[in-house]
Symmetry: C2
Subunit: 159 residues, 2 copies
């Protein structure tokens, strides 16, 4: 599914909500309004975000949530694969919606912090082969390339 219009986004959010509902039911967890609100907020966002930004943004919309609930729900969403958690070299977890979007890895600019995404099928091959060799059941991975982006663009973003 490709999100190109507000209607498609709405549709995606409904789909994700029902997946989340199933997960909650299956694990005998409660369907609280906070959990759905956080999920909706995440899928309305583009790009990566950290827990604090999500919390602040919901507060600014006058939605009453606590940091604790934000963290709890993020963990819950990560556990059912609706959200992925990243660490881009800093001591700050970054999150990203993942359902309906292509698996990808990241290229991070060490000067300006800009994050680009890319896909390469070879990473899957590496996972398969190394899992076999080392007798690991590989569940997920994280590949980050760090470097410097085009000077002009990078200078622009710094300001």
């Amino acid at each position: 599914m490709k999100v190109t219009t507000p209607e498609k986004l709405e549709q995606l959010i409904e789909e994700v909500k029902s997946i989340f509902s199933l997960h909650l039911e299956k694990n005998a967890l409660r369907k609280t309004p906070e959990r759905y609100a956080i999920l909706e907020e995440i899928y309305s966002r583009t790009d990566h975000f950290d827990a604090e930004a999500l919390y602040i943004h919901m507060k600014n919309q006058n939605y009453r949530v606590s940091r604790a609930t934000v963290y709890n729900t993020l963990e819950l969403l990560v556990s059912c694969d609706l959200v992925v958690k990243h660490q881009f070299g800093k001591n700050l977890a970054q999150y990203e919606k993942s359902y309906g979007f292509k698996q990808h890895d990241h290229m991070i600019c060490i000067d300006c912090g800009n994050v680009l995404e890319f896909c390469d099928p070879r990473i899957q091959q590496i996972k398969n082969m190394m899992g076999d060799i080392l007798e690991f059941d590989v569940r997920h991975h994280s590949l980050n390339l760090y470097g410097k982006c085009q000077k002009t663009y990078c200078e622009t973003r710094k300001s």
Copy 2:
């Protein structure tokens, strides 16, 4: 260089110290005993370690260092490529000596935290290709595979 005997380790440490000296000179930084002591401590270790473990270990040897110096020196060593810094999915930086050792990536067990190392030439190809395509000057990378190691081994380590 392969470290197989105490003599070879001694030799490696001397080599690394002189590289460090050159770096300090080139950048007009001071050659303090603390900096060399930390470097030596790191190269005498095997495996990965965090800043606190390094600090504690030096304290236990009755070496007078502060956490601040440990963190400062680690950053210095990372900047001259004698040490690499990792984040294995936790908010805790892990470090590892890097001079004279083969470039490698990591496989982390999500149950017991065990870390294995592996090499795959395809990662270099990915770095080159993606750097070209996205016009990035790729300086380094981080590839972590997360999964479950052989049940028996994992159970052993848990205890």
